[in-house]
Every structure is written in structure tokens, then in C-alpha cells.
């Protein structure tokens, strides 16, 4: 009965309240999703509550956050699940309490959600592999530097990369492929520094997310190898954009987090208002290079204008 009541859109009675739950809160990527969500909420006149697990990337903590919002009785939940299985039950719980769920960014098993809005991560890895293979002219020795153990979206990127490199570029060989950077930039930095010390012959590197890309970039810059080693990374931040311009990074695979956040909330609101929505939305992956980085479309992806939506 509640939904019909809100369908009538009585202003001032009670605004729709939507919880948006990212995997973490401190990366630029999530910041941009937040901006997208705020944008949608302003356009559609709803309230959003933005809240990640207290420890970044901790499945158990994310489950608690979902449960706590169920108890608070929000109208809908937009969730970027840290695990495609572990979050199933809390999502079921939400549905049982008639709280609909939209999934963004990463997959969730089952059918309990109303829509799935995400990047094709595997495809992101494929694009990166093709770019790096092309940069190296189809032969050379490279590193695949992995992010964290058990992180699904980056693992997909890594797999996309690995599959493509081995199948399409037989001349390229992997010097390293099972080293994980861990969660922070500093650990990535040290890892890359030590790897370069061991394999100075390396010609190409791929990193699957922002922190690993930036840590590795710092190591390359410090070793005065930036620009000499072909380097493809993932996601953007001001320092990475600068590096792209300087030729220290040769390609950045980009997602469209702004759109992801925006569509996630929008799909939810449309659903709450009783409209039918697509069950799957691909927000796309793009490759930014030094050449195309000043195109307006790329510029928007590289430097999303979230200042307009977030206070700081």
C-alpha cells in the first residue's frame, strides 16, 4: 500500500529515501558514483543516504550495513555488492521486507534485484590487453600486477587481460602474474619497486585499478622508467591524467561511474514509481589515450564534474 501512496507524489508528505551502498568510500571512483547518485536524486526529488562498509572492502561489514538499512526501513537500496554470493541473503531479507534493490558495479547471483547497472569488467581487461599488445608490437615481457585477493571486479579485469594477452599476443610473455598489491598505494608502490628491481627487462605493465596504477606509476617515475615502459592502467585521478598527458601512462581504461550512480538511483526511483525498467544496463568501458584525452566525451569521463554535486 505504501508504494501506491507515494505514486501519487504528494509533496511534503514523505520523500522517498534511498540508501546507496558502495564497496568503500575513499576512492575517486566511489566519489564519482556518489556524485551521479546525488545528481539523480536532485533531478528526481528523492533523498539518498550514502554509506559504505566501515572497513573498505569487507564483505561482513557490508552485510551489516544492508541489514541496518533494512531495519531503518528505507524505501530502496542501491548496492554495489562486494561479493556475488555473500550479499544474496541480505538482499533477500530486504526483498522480504518489501525493500527493492538495484545492483550496481558488480554482479550478484540470483534474481532478487530489480535491475543491474554496471561496467563489463572483463571487457575492460580485454581492451587493456589489446592496447598493451599493440603498444608492444605483439612481443615483449610484461607484468600483470594484481589488486587484492578476492576482489571480484578487479579479478575479472585481470582475467580479461590474461585471456586476451595469451590468446591474441603469443609473442608477449608474462614475467609476473600472481603478485597482489594489497589495498593501499604504498604497498603497490613497494611491490612495483621491488619487481622492477628484480626484472629490469620488463617492457609493459598492466594494473587493474586506481590504487595499483598509481602506486606502480610512482615506482616507475622514481626509477626513471616512466614513459620507457609501456603502461596501461585502470580508472582515473588527477595524477593519472597528468601522467597520461606526460606520456608516463599510455592508456587508461575508464568506466563511467557518474552514469552508474545516476542510473542506479534513477532505475530505483522509476521502479518505486511503478514504471517498468530494463533489468540490465551496461554503462560502458572506454580507453583514454594521450591522443583522445581532450575529446569532450573523454574529458567528462576523466574528470567528472562531481564538485557540482558534492559539498567538497
Amino acid at each position: 500500500g505504501k508504494q501506491e501512496q507515494e505514486d501519487t507524489q504528494q509533496e511534503g508528505v514523505k520523500k522517498i529515501q534511498i540508501a546507496v551502498i558502495p564497496k568503500g568510500t575513499t576512492h575517486e571512483f566511489w566519489k564519482t558514483i556518489h556524485a551521479g547518485a546525488v545528481k539523480a536524486s536532485r533531478e528526481l526529488g528523492v533523498d539518498i543516504i550514502w554509506k559504505g562498509p566501515q572497513k573498505e572492502d569487507d564483505r561482513a561489514q557490508q552485510i551489516m550495513v544492508v541489514e541496518d538499512f533494512i531495519n531503518r526501513g528505507v524505501d530502496g537500496i542501491v548496492l554495489a555488492p562486494l561479493d556475488d554470493r555473500a550479499l544474496c541473503r541480505p538482499v533477500q531479507d530486504a526483498v522480504r521486507e518489501t525493500i527493492p534493490v538495484v545492483i550496481i558495479d558488480s554482479e550478484l547471483q540470483g534474481e532478487d534485484f530489480v535491475s543491474f547497472v554496471a561496467t563489463d569488467n572483463y571487457k575492460g581487461g580485454v581492451i587493456a590487453a589489446r592496447k598493451l599488445g599493440e603498444l608492444l608490437g605483439g612481443k615483449g615481457e610484461i607484468f600483470l600486477i594484481r589488486y587484492q585477493e578476492g576482489s571480484a571486479s578487479t579479478t575479472k579485469r585481470e582475467n580479461g587481460f590474461l585471456d586476451t594477452i595469451t590468446s591474441e599476443f603469443p609473442g608477449v610473455s608474462l614475467l609476473v602474474q600472481d603478485q597482489h598489491t594489497g589495498a593501499t598505494t604504498e604497498t603497490a608502490y613497494q611491490l612495483a619497486e621491488n619487481l622492477i628491481g628484480r626484472f629490469p627487462e620488463v617492457e609493459g605493465i598492466f594494473c587493474p585499478n586506481e590504487s595499483s596504477t598509481f602506486g606502480t606509476l610512482r615506482a616507475l617515475q622514481e626509477s626513471r622508467l616512466a614513459g620507457k615502459i609501456k603502461f596501461v592502467g585502470f580508472d582515473s585521478s588527477p595524477k593519472l591524467i597528468q601522467a597520461l598527458r606526460d606520456g608516463h601512462i599510455h592508456g587508461l581504461v575508464l568506466q563511467n561511474p557518474m552514469r552508474m550512480g545516476y542510473l542506479g538511483v534513477k532505475q530505483m526511483v522509476l521502479h518505486l514509481r511503478g514504471q517498468s525498467i530494463e533489468s540490465r544496463v551496461d554503462t560502458g568501458v572506454y580507453l583514454a589515450t594521450r591522443e583522445n584525452m581532450d575529446d569532450t566525451e573523454m574529458k567528462n569521463l576523466l574528470e567528472p564534474d562531481f564538485a557540482a554535486y558534492l559539498d567538497r
Binding site: D58, R59, I63, M64, G150
Partner: protein, 331 residues
């Protein structure tokens, strides 16, 4: 002169007040937290609902089970930094076993025993090499976590759903249970451990070892054996906690519970446990666990940003322990 005439009475009066205070002190922090959120207009109606209390109880099980063992260890003057890694390892083992087609009951036993084994190794190293617990368990923190990742092949293990996953369901299967079986288990085990600490010879020896190890040894207590038992029992609790973790996640995740050892230790210390040994109680530790859980729950409900939550929880830890200090101040 006059007051000297009835020193007995005076002492009893003072003692009774002291006793009441000392009994209430651990609860003060909890009341404070509950009061804060009950007064927040945004959540007060929702916060005080039975359903919310049920969620908080379920969310507390994992830390609470860890804290039961940690209480023993801290009373005995030790510390266990490997508790969280141990939980992750055990949960991976359960998932691995279920995945391999082993009956769930056996898988659970494997998980618990894995925890016990890690604890036993901790205890044995501490006593045989005469190393400080901090170091041994710090080493074990890395070792257990590494083994968990190894077994899981650097990935989470997707195990088929079984009744094990019902242990931590917020809506338990026979509905008359009211709360998840895991919550009942936590309550029963807490009572058992409280009785063990208070009414058994073993319990006394735990306090004695923590209060003055040399004395305990000179009084003929086999301190090494006692310690090994303490660490093993605590390991078993971590194992069970790992089972619950698996039940909740439905997957075996080697990266789960990173840093949870600090939460567990904090709960015990908030509840009056002294890191110098000789002090602590099960009741106190449980209250400590719930203080932290309600704080998290309330802040999330309020939608406070994580950094605010981090700051507040940090501050509350200090405040709660300061309140507890009241007990120890001489009147």
C-alpha cells in the same frame, strides 16, 4: 573515635555501594550508547525495535565468540592478535570441506578443530619458546591468513548452500527459535564460560596465571599446561566464530575479518579486562561487544559518514573505559 566503633557497618555500607557500582559500571557505557540513539529523532522509532535488536545480536555473534576466548587469554595476561586470521582460516576450511562434498556437520567440526589447532600452536610456541604472546600471535596473524588464502587459492570459495548457512539467518528456520541459532549458541557459551571462570579450578588458575605467573608456578600450577589449554580453547572459539562467519557470508572468504582482532580485544578491555592480566569477566566482555555493535548499528542507521563513525567509536572506546576506571579508583 566514634566512627571507629562500628567499623564493620561502615565497611559494609561502603562495600555495598562499591559492589553496586562495580556491577553496573560495564553497563554504563552500553546504556549511554542506547540512550544516544534512542534520542535521535531520525531513527528512534526504528532503533528500539525488536527486529533491530535481533540484527544487532546476530551481527555480534562473530566478535562475541572471539571475545569469549580472548577474555580467557587476556585474564591470563596474554593477547591473541591472530584471532581474526584464525576466524578467516576456519571459515575457509568449512567452505572448502563443504565444497568438497563432506557432510556439513563434519565440515563444521573441521572448522572448529582448525581454530583449536591454531590456538594450540600459539600456546605451545608461547610456552615452549618462552616468547611473549604478542609476538607469537603477530606471527600467527600472518601465517594463518596466508594459509587461508593459499587454501582458497587467493579467491573466495563458493560452497553450496546447506543448513550451516541457517545458523546465522536473521529469520531462523523453526520460527519459535525467535533468534538465529548462532545467537543462542553465543548466549549458552557465554554462560558456560562465565561459570567455568567463576566456579571451576581451571578458572581460578587462569586468574592466578594472569595475576602472578611466578606465584602460580610456585604454588604447583602447571602454568604451561594451563596456558596451552587457554589458547586452545580460545582457538576453538575462533573456529566456531569462523563457522558463523561462513554461515553468514555463505562463502569462504580468506580476506574476511581483517583487523577484527582489535575489535575483539577492545570489547574485552571495554568490559573491564586488563591487559596486565588478572582482571576481566565474561559479562563485561559481552557488554563490550554490544557497545561496539550498537554503536556501528546506530551510526549506520543515522547514515553518518564513515569518518564520523570512526571518530565516534574511537572516542566511545576511551570514554567507556574511563567509566570503567571508576570502579578501580579507590573510594
Amino acid at each position: 573515635m566514634k566512627k571507629m566503633d562500628i567499623p564493620g557497618l561502615q565497611i559494609i555500607g561502603k562495600k555495598r555501594i562499591q559492589y553496586v557500582i562495580s556491577w553496573l559500571a560495564p553497563f554504563l557505557g552500553l546504556m549511554l550508547v542506547l540512550a544516544i540513539f534512542s534520542l535521535m529523532p531520525e531513527v528512534q522509532d526504528r532503533f528500539l525495535r525488536v527486529n533491530n535488536f535481533k540484527s544487532v545480536a546476530t551481527q555480534s555473534v562473530i566478535v562475541a565468540l572471539g571475545a569469549l576466548g580472548m577474555t580467557l587469554i587476556i585474564i591470563s595476561g596474554g593477547i591473541d592478535l591472530s584471532a581474526a586470521s584464525n576466524i578467516a582460516l576456519s571459515s575457509v576450511i568449512v567452505a572448502f570441506a563443504i565444497n568438497a562434498g563432506i557432510p556439513p556437520v563434519v565440515a563444521i567440526v573441521f572448522g572448529i578443530l582448525t581454530g583449536g589447532l591454531v590456538g594450540f600452536v600459539n600456546g605451545s610456541l608461547i610456552t615452549s619458546l618462552r616468547l611473549v604472546p604478542f609476538i607469537v600471535t603477530l606471527g600467527m596473524l600472518g601465517i594463518a591468513r596466508g594459509i587461508a588464502k593459499w587454501i582458497a587459492g587467493n579467491q573466495k570459495i563458493d560452497a553450496p548452500l546447506t543448513w550451516v548457512n541457517e545458523l546465522m539467518a536473521r529469520h531462523p528456520e523453526p520460527p519459535w527459535l525467535l533468534m538465529a541459532p548462532g545467537v543462542w549458541m553465543m548466549i549458552i557459551l557465554a554462560v558456560v564460560m562465565a561459570v567455568v571462570l567463576r566456579y571451576t579450578v581451571f578458572g581460578r588458575h587462569v586468574f592466578a596465571v594472569g595475576s602472578n605467573e611466578a606465584t602460580a608456578r610456585l604454588c604447583g600450577i602447571r602454568t604451561n599446561r594451563t596456558k596451552i589449554i587457554i589458547y586452545s580453547v580460545s582457538g576453538l572459539f575462533c573456529g566456531l566464530s569462523g563457522v558463523m562467519q561462513f554461515s553468514r557470508l555463505t562463502v569462504g572468504d580468506p580476506t574476511v575479518a581483517v583487523g577484527l582482532e582489535l575489535d575483539i580485544i577492545a570489547a574485552v578491555v571495554i568490559g573491564g579486562g586488563s591487559l596486565r592480566g588478572g582482571e576481566g569477566s565474561i559479562l563485561g566482555s559481552m557488554v563490550g561487544v554490544f557497545i561496539m555493535s550498537f554503536l556501528r548499528n546506530g551510526s549506520t542507521m543515522m547514515g553518518w559518514p564513515n569518518y564520523i563513525q570512526e571518530i565516534i567509536i574511537g572516542a566511545i572506546i576511551i570514554v567507556a573505559v574511563s567509566l570503567d576506571q571508576l570502579r578501580h579508583r579507590r573510594p
